[in-house]
Amino acid sequence: MIRWRLWLWLPLLAIALLFGLFALQLSRPKDEFVRSALIGQPLPTFSLKPALPGQPPLANTDFADGKPRLLNVFASWCVPCAAEAPQLAALQAGGAEIVAVAIRDTPDDVAAFLDAYGNPFSRIGADPYSQLQIALGSSGVPETFVIDGTGVIRHQHIGDIRAEDVPRLLDELREAGE
């Protein structure tokens, strides 16, 4: 009869193991981000039309003037891009020049997006088919790259910029300028 009682604890044991596994998986952050292979290499050659008519276009040659910049890959349809707008404004206030690439977007949507969330960008290139995004090794939006004054990619930030990321990105930018 003792053995029969021991069997009864088996379900509890099984469920305890199961929940232990769940807790383990919950506790470890999922890092499914794909890092770009281009860090430390020069930007690919590109020449994009402006995302808004009448504004300056964006080409890789714009990065070769000795000034480090942030390159923000965004889209008006992307929710975290809206969420990171205050942080981009903070970066701009911190002295960063930010250029942007709008992915798979339309001029009207971009204009509406900038009206709603502010425009911290000095130039915005249009990438209607994600070609530059792919060439950059960026696998989603938003992403932010630190580009040094010679057009070399120094750092990649994946996902939206949180408030705590702002000083780090400014540091990266300062290092890229040295």
Binding site: V79, A82, A83, A116, S130, S139, V141, I158, D160, R162
Partner: protein
Amino acid sequence: MTALKAKHQRLVLVIVALAALIGAGLLAAWALRNQASYFYVPSAMVDDPPATGQAVRLGGMVQEGSLQTAADGVTVRFVVGDGQARVPVQFSGIVPDLFVEGSGVVAEGALRADGTFLATNLLAKHDENYMPRELQDMSPAEARETVAETQE
């Protein structure tokens, strides 16, 4: 029915049920080892190829200049590489929207004896964006609030 027989019957019932359930578990464990489809990158697939016909996933970049469409208009051939090794892939079907040369791809399928990976399904990799899925259907204003909340 005697008491002895009754006890016996209950025991038999429990043993049969347990045997079936444990059998199911062992069978499942065995099948999982054989049937789970493992994730390979090209260099791993070249170094230590999976058995021919075993369902696996292959992930990597579509090599520039390698994409060819067959005369039937629905079969494509391309090469997937990871910078170290390259695996030729063949796929019949409707390719995903964002599938182009230079893009990342995950191909589901099996390796053929001639070393070609025969894909049954292609998942284009770069069309994900970094948002929690629950935010996908929200308007930007709502999402902004939600993101702000989670950041606090």
